[in-house]
């Protein structure tokens, strides 16, 4: 994923912000432990959010433990370690693998360097969660088909990405899978579209596929903002509505912040900056 899912920091209480960071560090720890991935550049904020949601639905209390971070040796950091971390860590690996493949096809050198580390981790994650690995692989092939056809219909790629995330989210809780699917589907739609909006100018320069450029020809077209805005906020409204149906057992303030403030702030920011 792309790292857009985050809380609005200024509205968080201090302890909520600490908790949020502790989930991020906990996920990083799980990646190291399970997949011996040491580069924290691989830890995705979106998967840290998945961990936060998973653990908040599981509800068991876990105290945050102090940890040492190689990247921030002088800072005191906290991490939350729980069983809920295993699945988000695997998702993080699976998505990093496809991102790496994408980057390699685009000829990025850093991606080729990371490949020997990610590949064994990918195999292990796929063995642990074969169904999710299948879902992710299927959706990436659907997405590359859409890209190959140079589709100018925003529903096609955003819908495909949404379905993938819906299937990832629905596995957090067998009983509430429908509500979780709705949360994931709508967040996935939002992620795909915000990434496309964020990359408009870059894609115009490089000539990479961008659904809005296909439809409107140029990044400055006045219709793009209106269309992106509608799709982003409508998807968020649906995600927030589905989230409201979930029985959240802890971290409610933090999760509420993400759904009702953080995602909205990010949307405003990208719309103002990229498309004026």
């Amino acid at each position: 994923m792309f790292g857009y899912i985050a809380p609005q920091k200024c509205e968080l209480k201090v302890h909520e912000f600490e908790t949020y960071k502790a989930y991020y560090c906990g996920l990083c720890k799980a990646l190291k432990h399970e997949y011996t991935l040491v580069s924290s550049s691989l830890v995705s904020y979106d998967c840290a959010f998945l961990y936060l949601l998973a653990d908040s639905l599981a509800g068991e209390e876990h105290s945050a433990e102090p940890c040492v971070c190689l990247l921030h040796p002088m800072e005191k950091r906290l991490q939350i370690l729980s069983e809920s971390a295993a699945y988000p860590a695997a998702v993080n690996v699976l998505l990093s693998y496809y991102k790496m493949k994408d980057d390699m096809e685009d000829g990025k050198k850093a991606a080729a360097l990371a490949a020997p580390f990610i590949h064994p981790a990918f195999k292990k994650a796929s063995a642990h969660y074969p169904e999710t690995a299948g879902d992710v692989s299927m959706m990436y092939s659907a997405l590359s088909g859409i890209q190959a056809r140079q589709s100018g219909n925003v529903d096609e790629p955003a819908g495909a990405f949404g379905v993938m995330l819906g299937k990832i989210f629905e596995k957090l809780d067998g009983e509430r899978w429908e509500d979780l699917y709705d949360v994931g589907y709508n967040l996935g739609r939002w992620l795909y579209i915000i990434d496309a909006a964020d990359d408009l100018e870059k894609d115009e320069k490089t000539g990479d596929y961008n659904v809005f450029l296909k439809k409107y020809g140029e990044s400055r077209h006045p219709k793009i903002r209106e269309e992106a805005e509608f799709n982003l906020y409508f998807s968020l409204a649906q995600a927030a509505e589905a989230y409201g149906r979930l029985p959240v057992l802890k971290n409610k303030g933090l999760l509420d912040n993400v759904f009702y403030l953080g995602l909205k702030e990010k949307t405003q920011f990208i719309l103002e900056r990229e498309i004026t």
Partner: protein, 187 residues
């Protein structure tokens, strides 16, 4: 085919249980979830056919006095689309819509409802706009057009500062149902 086994409900399941199981299965085997894998997609749509048949059988069995099949054949093609949407059978609704040459405002409205339920919001908005533009006096089309254009704004305005706990019900599926005046949540 044993319809109870197909839907995974017991013989003394209530109508509400049957509907719930049916909705859950329709969602699980929706072909959209298998896009990109033609084999799995075909298997899922075959399964969906069985599920629809099983559901029709059980509901028909439970309503002895009513000629259930009549509602399908009696109405126009667009009424059949409405019936399919109300059952949550979006694939059939789409097939019927695709097959129609004549595309009045109601066609666009129903296409919009199907897209909304599938989560294809951009297309849904375009079709609601067309339906509303063709016939602005129709309250159904106006309601759909207003819902799709106002939902995002409501989300943006409701949760500011202390208001974030406000009860919030702007779910597309529920709205799509209320647009078709049925009260259940399907896909």
């Amino acid at each position: 085919m044993n319809p109870y086994t197909v839907l995974g409900v017991s013989q003394n399941a209530s109508e509400e249980d049957i509907k719930k199981a049916y909705r859950s299965l329709v969602k699980k085997y929706h072909p959209d979830r298998y896009a990109g894998d033609p084999k799995a997609e075909a298997a899922a749509s075959e399964k969906l056919k069985q599920i629809n048949q099983a559901y029709d059988m059980l509901i028909k069995m439970r309503q002895p006095g009513q000629d259930y099949s009549g509602t399908y054949t009696a109405g126009s093609a667009l009424a059949q689309v409405r019936a399919a949407i109300a059952r949550g059978d979006l694939s059939t609704a789409e097939m019927l819509l695709d097959a129609m040459g004549d595309r009045p405002a109601e066609w666009h409205y129903l296409r919009g409802v199907v897209l909304l339920r599938r989560g294809w919001y951009d297309g849904a908005r375009q079709h609601f706009e067309t339906a509303y533009g063709m016939n602005p006096g129709n309250p159904e089309y106006r309601q759909a057009w207003e819902m799709i254009n106002q939902t995002g704004g409501a989300y943006r305005n409701v949760f500011t500062g202390q208001n974030r706990a406000l009860n919030y019900t702007l779910c597309a599926s529920c709205v799509a149902c209320s647009l078709l005046s049925c009260c259940c949540r399907y896909f």
